[in-house]
């Protein structure tokens, strides 16, 4: 029985007085890929931000490897082994590609990912390693952002809308590589607006609607109808 690596129990999250998540309970087991889908504003990114410690006001539980991380700072959570590929890539514009990757290793966690292994996996990045990161194409930036997250050798890696703003062929390329990237014992949560990609890549799926979980189940087991209903709240 694979162990539970990350879980939220009835998570509430607030931006000031505005409540964005209502009693969201999501589990992630070791080695699996879970996807979270939902319309814009459904709370997907809020969920990711809550887990990584960027939301100040959260209620109830967030547990990682059995320990509560609810009150930890974002940098402490990164240290513990949760990494994120943020929405919009968000590479550091003042840093070159290689420097961006090196920042990823700031946590000094040990593991298979280091500069040489990242370059092996993404040869394009090696060619461009001394170029300021904001001069890269969208697809290359996405690779760099993924590489940066990998450099911290995390146990859990979160992908927040990595297909946003990219050409279909690039998206296809990235998703083909994804399972290879997270072998070696990593677990992943993928937030996606593209339902097809989300279903294809993941073992289980959660659908958020206006801050609540509207549906969950095995990715290949749920029907199109069920998903659409939950997605649009009908």
């Amino acid at each position: 029985m694979p162990r539970k690596i990350l879980e939220t129990k009835k998570l509430n999250a607030f931006y000031g007085d505005f409540q964005a998540l209502f009693e969201v309970s999501i589990d992630l087991f070791e080695g699996e890929i879970v996807s979270i889908i939902g319309a814009n504003g459904a709370g997907k990114s809020t969920f990711m931000r809550s887990v990584t410690g960027l939301i100040d006001k959260v209620d109830n539980e967030i547990n990682f490897n059995g320990l509560s991380i609810k009150n930890l700072r974002a940098d402490e959570i990164a240290q513990k082994g949760i990494a994120m590929v943020p929405e919009g890539r968000k590479l550091f514009p003042s840093l070159t590609v290689e420097e961006n990757l090196l920042i990823g290793s700031q946590t000094k966690r040990s593991g298979p990912w280091k500069l040489s292994s990242v370059y092996e996996f993404f040869p394009d990045l090696y060619d461009k390693k001394n170029i300021p990161s904001n001069l890269l194409s969208g697809g290359q930036q996405q690779m760099a952002a993924i590489g940066r997250a990998l450099m911290s050798n995390p146990e859990v890696i979160l992908f927040d809308e990595i297909s946003l703003g990219l050409a279909p062929i690039i998206i296809k390329n990235i998703y083909q590589n994804l399972p290879l990237v997270i072998k070696d014992g990593m677990s992943a949560i993928v937030v996606e607006q593209d339902i097809n990609k989300a279903i294809e890549i993941s073992d289980r799926v959660y659908c958020l609607q206006e801050g609540r979980i509207a549906l969950t189940g095995g990715s290949k087991k749920l029907t199109r109808e069920e998903i659409s209903k939950a997605y649009f709240g009908m």
Partner: protein, 288 residues
């Protein structure tokens, strides 16, 4: 010849002004904080150097052994204890808190040392001069001060662009949130940045204290010189700040040559002219 001498003096003092500016610029670059008490911290370093060198009977430059770590620790604690709490979207808190700090430092120095001007004694080096062809005389002390200023700016550039700490500074400056996601502790990074700034402040303070007399109220004047050098040179560029300091120093000396009472005013006017025609500074790399 007199004029050439004046201009050379202006260039050399520009190095000191660049040191004033470098500490200010660094902090702004990393955390968008402008420390209104910056000048007062320079004067504090000078007084610290005075106390250390007189009570331990040391050459003022040797007092740096104590003053530098003392100011660095003070800077780190100040940042983590008070200044970090003011950072955010509102510009008022950091401004008003550092203004309050300025008042506290000035008046504390006044209580401890009285308003009398002080000066540190470094011995012969203060009057030794280098004779150059054409009747030019360059003081060894201003020359050494200038060279060390260039060295320090070079070291700061190195730290910023070639070390992992500098990488952390630049990343945090780009995007505080994402930097946190990468495991960088914002509070600690800002504390370190302030500590480094205080190291530069300490050195600038001792240089100042040997070069000229100083008193508790001299802080704001130094802040303004540093600020003018930063604006003339352009935000985000340390070498530009050096040029800015030089332009400021030269303007002041030219003004003094015309009329001694116009020295500082001439510097202000040079600053205002640059502000009018090249508001982003001569070599700007960053927006305010």
């Amino acid at each position: 010849m007199d004029w050439v001498n004046s201009i050379i003096q202006g260039v050399l003092v520009g190095g000191l002004y660049a040191l004033f500016a470098a500490g200010l610029s660094l902090i702004f670059g990393v955390m968008r904080l402008v420390n209104i008490a910056h000048g007062d911290l320079i004067i504090l370093s000078a007084f610290l150097g005075l106390t250390v060198s007189t009570s331990l009977d040391l050459n003022p430059f040797l007092s740096l052994i104590i003053v530098i770590p003392a100011m660095a620790i003070l800077g780190y604690l100040l940042q983590r204890g008070i200044l970090n709490k003011t950072l955010g979207n509102d510009i008022l808190p950091p401004l008003l808190v550092t203004f309050g700090l300025s008042v506290i430092i000035q008046n504390s120095l006044l209580e401890l040392y009285t308003a009398d001007p002080q000066k540190m004694n470094a011995g012969n080096i203060e009057v030794a001069s280098l004779s150059l062809p054409g009747g030019l005389n360059i003081g060894w002390y201003p020359l050494i001060m200038f060279i060390i200023s260039i060295l320090i700016i070079g070291i700061l550039q190195f730290i910023f662009y070639k070390t992992s700490l500098g990488r952390a500074f630049r990343a945090t400056s780009d995007d505080q949130e994402i930097a946190q996601l990468m495991g960088l502790s914002k509070n600690h990074i800002f504390g370190l940045a302030m500590a480094i700034s205080m190291v530069v402040v300490a050195i600038a303070g001792i240089f100042l204290g040997v070069r000229t007399s100083f008193d508790p109220a001299a802080g704001p004047g130094r802040l303004i010189f540093g600020f003018e050098a930063v604006i003339i040179g352009g935000l985000g560029n340390l070498w530009g700040t050096l040029i800015g300091g030089i332009i400021l120093g030269v303007s002041q000396n030219i003004g003094a040559k015309i009329n001694p009472g116009w020295q500082i005013l001439a510097g202000h006017i040079a600053f205002l002219v640059v502000l009018a025609v090249r508001p982003k500074g001569l070599f700007h790399r960053m927006d305010g």
